[in-house]
Amino acid sequence: MSDAPAAASHRAPRAAPLGARLGAAWRHPNPVWTRELRQSARLTRTPLVLAVVTGLITLLMGTIGGLATGHVEPARVGSALHQTFFSIAFAVVAWLAPAIASSTIASERSGRTWEALQLTGLGAKTITRGKFLAAYSYVALYVVMLAPVGALSFLFGGVTATEVLLAYLLLLVFAAVAVAFGLGISSKFSNPAVAVVVSLLTSVPISLFVYLGLGLGLSAAMHQVWPEIPSATPVWLPTAYVRARLDLNYLALLIALPLALAAGVTWFFYEVCVANMAGPSDDRSSGLRRWFLVNTTLVAIASLLPVMLLPRDAHVGAIVALVAFLGYLVFGCLLFAGEPLGPSHRTQLHWERHRASRWTRWMGPGLMPALGSLLTLGLTGLGLQTLVGIGMAWLEGSQLAALQVIVWGAYATAFFLFLAGLTALSRARAQGPTAPRVVLLLTLFVVTAGPWVVAAIAGVLADGSSSAIVSAAPSPVFAAVMASLLDSTERHRELALAVGSAAILGWALLGVALLGAGAARSRRLTQAHHAARRELEQALRAEEEEALDPTEAPGAG
């Protein structure tokens, strides 16, 4: 490297157009990807495992087809084979993809090749993309190998070729999500065996939830919207694409939502992986913050889908949306509980060199900017959802419904403020991200369930008096009690509403106080850190000047 002015190498990187980037990627494929593919191709177990899996599934499909052909009409056999095959394929992808992906980064660490890779300067993003592509290619190979078996159902009838093709495409989309999930896990571990076990322990229950909830469960809901979609069929989405009529619901529920869900989850795990692989002084926050900004907007919109799905009780849909969005915001608090208090010295210097904008700095590392984004997006989202709910209630002509939405909206907002404040203070007081996350989860559990335990005890002590329920007012679930009591004539109605309102106010005030305390402590610590840094720099500079000053040299003057 020459002694050329350093500034030349620190010009702000200019992003090349997408076309040029794709062209460059085509000409120079990711080296991590090509190397991993080469290694996989040389493993004798690869073709063996592929052949065994394909053989077993072919055998199973053949057996089912053979047994059913005699006494069941072919179209039903075809449909059953289609459901069976893609259910198995889903399981293979859901369990295999995270397991394959989870060992990739961990094995670099355990094999002690990670440092060499890190020092090449490839960067966490390039390595993550290479690892993703490698694991995805491997999983895609399974899907491709299984293609002829899946096409068997088409021969019997009952499903169209388009449905089979779409099912394969969806399987490939799901594989991307599963691989990203595995990579996210892998980036946290240095032992591949542990990473694989953790990935399986998490992916199995999640896949069961997806299969039963988003598969079987959602097919029933979709059957309500589009009767053409058979109910209680796990593989319903390809059928829906072919049979549902094209309208706004189609675009929102069948196109936008699944795509946004897949893209959002994949992007999240990609950013998690990049952040976990970067150094402690690197900017590990901007990527996740960008994701959060986009995703929260999408989630806020998507959480209004129940309003579309429940046209007769739209305000109930709005309340469901509020609760779902609050759940997402709790996840946001847990996510930002891992933020550093402020940008590192390195990040700050790089910002200065690149003349980073205020927006870039706002989106960079720092607890309070992160919580600022969370609060801005969260409060806006909750406010809009409450307004939509009130609007729906107004359209329904129900003042009570509007009041119910307001109660839910107010409680959700106040409780969110409290959680954000708790995140701020607990993170500012902790050395790392684990303690504030544990504090947050424990508080959430205690605050949600604890008041109900107290209410139950109070009820027993008060001889079953229904007014004992007011003891549960601090629990966010109490919003349901408040909403149900709005049109009640029970004696304790006034008391419950008053205590509930006091709890709402209490959470909000406590949240603001915690936020203030967290911000003050965070600012104090950051300033102390910068002062220490400045002091060190000054001491080093003074020492250097002393060494260079000829008047200080021994014997001089």
Partner: protein, 349 residues
């Protein structure tokens, strides 16, 4: 705000200033200061747990210093790790390799990862490390020595100015060690600065232009071996009883400022002569600088003395002039081993 200068022009190859690092409540490095010029081969020595690998990992940007400043070729490792990685080639102790690729594929992968552009560097690297005949062999089939060579070839791909090698010859057979040593000398001729740690002191003394001894997280001494030996000898002469009088809690680094730490060193010299060694005893007993002589079977003589290399030469010359057939001369320790034992206490942290 204008960008601060990132790289100091005309900076030494490595500059460590007031480096501190801590793991938990344990200070692993304590105020380490070090400067290494371009083209030097620096041997980094210290007992196990002294903090060598921590220092090396900080230099290689794999660990961030908690306090102090570390610069490689003028780049601050804390601020510009990417730039440091461009000028540094780091070979860790017991590094792993990708097993299911050929030697050529392995090096091509790293050349691409380093974005060197021209894959001709792979040929140059292979030639320098003498891996030409093994290019098509699978990495998994290589011996330990060959894998070590492969690692060296890897870190040379991007033509780094500074090579940082952590125990490059550990676990290698004698032949492979000699080959690595020769390779290091060749690299020095190519203008590379080499910073290496090793437990094999004789190996370091053969190749290093200077050394640094680290003990309990502090750099005890640093400089050219000969110069250090002279400084210690001078200090010893000035304060012969310093060790006995030194404070119990005195840090090893304090000895650098006021180096006398030991009574006069009793060195031992092994001589082998033809015939009966006992017959030679009267010739040596009572000689200037001779502190004691023992003879044993096989013509072996063990001479205890307080002199240097000139004394050894003088003894040999004297014996030859007296008609003694000297067939072997072996100083018991080499200079670096003696230096190491003298300035360290062997304490682990």
């Amino acid at each position: 705000m204008s960008a601060p200068a990132a790289r100091r022009a005309g900076a030494p190859a490595i500059r460590v200033r007031h480096l501190w690092h801590r793991f938990g409540s344990r200070d692993v490095l304590r105020d380490v200061n070090l400067e290494l010029g371009h083209g030097e081969i620096f041997g980094f020595i210290g007992p196990n747990g002294a903090g060598k690998t921590t220092t090396i990992r900080i230099l290689a940007t794999l660990l961030e210093p908690m306090a102090g400043r570390v610069e490689v070729d003028g780049w601050d490792v804390s601020v510009d790790p990417e730039e440091v990685r461009r000028v540094v080639g780091y070979m860790p102790d017991h590094a792993g390799v990708y097993e299911h690729v050929t030697v050529r594929e392995y090096l091509e992968f790293f050349a691409e990862a380093y974005r060197v552009g021209d894959l001709g560097v792979v040929d140059a690297s292979v030639e320098l490390t003498d891996l030409g005949k093994l290019q098509t062999r699978m990495v998994s089939a290589l011996s330990k020595g060959m894998k070590q060579r492969l690692q060296l070839a890897r870190i040379l791909l991007h033509d780094p100015k500074v090579l940082i090698l952590d125990e490059p010859a550990s676990d290698l057979d004698p032949r492979a060690r000699i080959e690595i040593r020769d390779l290091l000398l060749e690299l020095r001729e190519l203008g590379k600065t080499v910073f290496l740690s090793s437990h094999i002191l004789t190996e370091l003394s053969d190749v290093c232009t200077s050394i640094g001894i680290l003990e309990r997280g502090q750099l005890v001494v640093a400089g050219p071996i000969g110069e250090l030996a002279e400084r210690l000898a001078a200090a010893r002469a000035e304060r012969p009883a310093a060790r006995a009088e030194s404070e119990p809690g005195e840090a090893p680094g304090d000895r650098l400022g006021a180096p006398p730490v030991a009574p006069p060193v009793r060195r031992r010299l092994k001589l082998r002569v033809l015939g009966d060694a006992h017959a030679v005893l009267p010739l040596l007993h009572g000689g200037g600088g001779v502190l004691g002589v023992q003879a044993s079977a096989g013509g072996l003589l063990l001479v205890e003395h307080a002199g240097g290399e000139a004394f050894v030469a003088e003894v040999v010359r004297y014996l030859v002039t007296q008609g003694v057939m000297v067939v072997g001369v072996e100083p018991e320790r080499n200079e670096l081993e003696r230096l190491f034992l003298e300035v360290t206490q062997g304490d682990l942290q």
